[in-house]
């Protein structure tokens, strides 16, 4: 399939003397991880469909510093932060959307004190905005009547109290949203946060992602919806560990919407 993704960069925009409505912060996973790149593309397809005037930083984007900060390396975090803030401020960015809750949290909560003040939205919040303003319509399509459970990413849910936006979107698919026994404020971590994604777990009797995947499988959902590229990886690995990867899919909320519209 040939794709015609329209992905302008901030540099191109500036050259044309334009300022986009929103800057899409792709993030490292969204840029480099094969699985997460699919989420990035799905989100862009929706943005293109809804005629959203957006741009990315492209090669001028750098890690927000989140994994460094959670690992305890405040130096590296702040170096990354200052570099990114310099770029974002040079482009006079006002509104940022990202599909990664870790980037979202860092940009939204930790950059302002360092001089980076923006309106920051998680992609599920932004999609909800598009929906509410009538710029995007969602039809159930292939997900009509399917059982979907949503895994709350820690840095979206507990960290920033955003529980409803992703759920509202899933319900718009005419799907049956089922909750895990631990959800929202009680949601169990996927095991990737706090820089765990980049190291082996400490000795224990179980992997956290398997524990969490069991919660999801208990609901008998056919699809585990995620809102974070790292949760996505962890839960996908979890379904493999439980030998259920053939009948339970892990998909990002953006992918659900894009697939439902056959985008």
């Amino acid at each position: 399939m040939s794709e015609n993704l329209v992905v302008p960069t901030m540099a191109e925009m500036l050259a044309q003397g334009k300022q986009p409505e929103v800057l899409f912060w792709v993030g490292c996973a969204g840029s480099f991880d094969d699985r997460a790149k699919k989420i990035t593309k799905a989100f862009v397809r929706i943005l293109n469909r809804a005629n959203v005037d957006f741009a990315v930083l492209g090669t001028e984007e750098g890690c927000t510093g989140d994994p460094a900060k959670r690992a305890g390396n405040e130096f590296l975090f702040q170096m990354q932060a200052f570099m990114n803030i310099e770029v974002l401020n040079a482009y006079e960015a006002k509104k940022i959307v990202t599909a990664c809750p870790h980037c979202f949290n860092t940009l939204k909560n930790e950059y302002p004190e360092l001089g980076g003040k923006y309106e920051v939205l998680h992609h599920t919040q932004f999609l909800k905005e598009l929906l509410d303003s009538g710029r995007l319509t969602i039809e159930g399509g292939q997900f009509k009547g399917k059982k979907i459970t949503f895994h709350d990413p820690c840095y979206l849910g507990r960290a920033n109290k955003i529980y409803e936006a992703p759920r509202d979107l899933i319900q718009k698919l005419d799907a049956e949203l089922v909750e895990m026994k631990r959800s929202k404020a009680n949601g169990l971590c996927c095991g990737a946060g706090g820089a765990q994604m980049f190291k082996e777990p400490e000795n224990g009797d179980k992997d956290i992602n398997v524990e969490r995947t069991e919660d999801a499988l208990e609901t008998n959902a056919q699809i585990i919806a995620a809102g974070c590229p790292f949760c996505n990886t962890m839960l996908t690995d979890g379904t493999k560990a439980k030998h259920r990867e053939h009948d339970v899919k892990v998909l990002d909320v953006a992918e659900l919407i894009a697939n439902a519209q056959d985008l």
């Binding site: 399939m1 794709e3 992905v7 960069t9 792709v26 490292c28 840029s31 480099f32 991880d33 790149k37 990035t40 593309k41 990315v56 090669t59 984007e61 750098g62 890690c63 994994p67 460094a68 900060k69 959670r70 690992a71 305890g72 390396n73 405040e74 130096f75 590296l76 702040q78 170096m79 990354q80 949290n105 909560n109 930790e110 004190e113 360092l114 820690c154 840095y155 507990r158 960290a159 920033n160 109290k161 009680n186 169990l188 971590c189 095991g191 990737a192 946060g193 706090g194 820089a195 765990q196 980049f198 190291k199 777990p201 400490e202 000795n203 224990g204 009797d205 179980k206 956290i208 524990e211």
Partner: protein, 446 residues
């Protein structure tokens, strides 16, 4: 006789309160060993938090069974203070049921209310004891509780049972005496207190007047003595939350849980590093904070005072640990243990100062390694479940993060794979080894 008992009462009261005050001073001094952090902003939000979370116990109710039981104990504890007030007046002035004549029917209602709550508290206490010792709830039997912490918890519950028993002995025997017209309270009849008007005659009806007078005094003095004992036991127990929950919720972090503080000391250095106008060979300014600051925390003095207040406030309920993904999957990390260790070390540092005329003499120990191991710290996913769960807004996570900062920035002691991740971020601005120039390649990939 009544003068003598008033004097004895006053002596016990003075010694009890005085000794407690002395220990409170120690707690305040120890908390002040922590670094400064500004929590004086947004007073209205803070009062609201305290009202809802500490006074209203809002966060307890996510687990309804212990919440209801705990609420009974809590309500009884608060209301019984009115009866304690009367005991103080009676004790000092040698009166008997001083409030009764002036309050009349309201007095009967008040004491009845106290009795009903005390009965509920008794039921709650028995339930709590069984949850700990018979049902052996996992969160109340974790490894960090073995030994003293478990004894401590049981002791507190037993003291509460004794306290309630004293209240009913006192009111029950006095009821029987009043029925006989022999109470120290003038007249004859029934006090009409909800429980003791039935319980008194049933339990003590057959006893002689002399025995009744003795038992009444045993109940009265017992109640008072238990309060004094309990007050002074607080300092040595995990039970300080009955007081500290209030300041602790007031001073808790109001930011979104995902927002970790940006170290100012680091900001200064990074800004200097990135400023092209800085003279790299310049001598440091003469007085600019003579002692170079330590990055992160290896001991209690490196933590801020709110974190130390957190440690004293923790009552070891273990909701944090039972919700911790690392702990649930068998890792060594237990957020409750982080708080217990912090307090134990803080007490050790305080005792050290007491022995050395108020100056801390290095003891070759630290919170890191001697109490909390790097293995525990590295098991954390920073998911905030512990912070969300804590009924009194303690943040074990902030301590874990400060200690990780010390490990990484002072000791370069991160796990190898994390060092690789950080090197990648430094070199190519991504946690993996991909060139920054390839960041937009996804656009054209199939």
């Amino acid at each position: 006789m009544s003068y003598l008992s008033s004097i004895v009462f006053l002596i016990i009261l003075t010694v009890g309160v005085g000794f407690f005050a002395k220990n409170v001073k120690k707690i305040i001094r120890n908390i002040k060993l922590g670094k400064d952090v500004n929590r004086s902003d947004n007073a209205s939000e803070r009062w609201k938090n305290m009202a809802l979370v500490a006074f209203g116990q809002k966060k307890m109710f996510t687990r309804p069974v212990p919440a209801v039981l705990h609420f009974a104990l809590y309500a009884a504890f608060i209301i019984t203070q009115i009866e304690l007030l009367e005991i103080l007046v009676d004790g000092i002035f040698g009166t008997h049921r001083f409030f009764k004549p002036s309050l009349g029917g309201f007095y009967t209602f008040l004491i009845s209310f106290i009795e009903v709550l005390s009965l509920l508290a008794l039921i709650a206490t028995v339930a709590f004891l069984s949850r700990r010792n018979l049902l052996k709830l996992p969160r109340l039997n974790k490894v960090e509780l073995l030994g003293w912490p478990q004894k401590d918890a049981n002791l507190i519950l037993i003291m509460e049972i004794v306290l309630v028993a004293c209240i009913f002995t006192m009111n029950g025997t006095d009821e029987v005496l009043y029925n006989m017209g022999k109470s120290h309270f003038e007249g004859q009849g029934s006090f009409g207190f909800a429980i003791s008007q039935h319980l008194g005659p049933a339990l003590f009806g057959s006893l002689s007047e002399g025995t009744l007078h003795v038992l009444e005094r045993v109940g009265w003095w017992g109640h008072f003595m238990m309060v004094m004992v309990f007050l002074n036991y607080l300092y040595y127990s995990k039970h300080l939350h009955i007081i500290l929950a209030f300041p602790n919720t007031y001073f808790a972090d109001l930011n979104p849980l995902g927002k970790f503080d940006n170290l100012e000391s680091v900001t200064k250095e990074v800004k200097l590093m990135m400023d092209p106008n800085v003279d790299p060979f310049a001598a440091p300014a003469p007085d600019a904070e003579a002692v170079p600051s330590k990055f992160g925390a290896s001991d209690v003095q490196d933590l801020n005072w709110v974190q130390l207040l957190n440690a004293y406030t923790c009552t070891e309920c273990g909701r944090c640990t039972s919700s911790c993904p690392a702990n649930q999957t068998g890792k060594k990390l237990s957020p409750r243990k982080i708080m217990m260790d912090t307090r134990d070390r803080l007490v050790e540092v305080g005792d050290n100062m007491d022995k050395n005329n108020g100056v801390f003499v290095p003891d070759n120990k630290s919170l890191l390694n001697d109490y909390i191991t790097p293995e525990e710290l590295w098991a954390c996913t920073s998911c905030n479940a512990c912070v969300e769960e804590c009924p009194v807004n303690i943040s074990p996570l902030s301590i874990i993060m400060d200690m990780r900062r010390y490990l990484v920035m002072e000791q370069s002691a991160a796990p190898m794979s994390l060092n690789a991740m950080m090197t990648n971020i430094e070199n190519n601005s991504a946690p993996w080894q991909y060139s920054q120039m390839d960041r937009l390649n996804w656009k054209d990939e199939q």
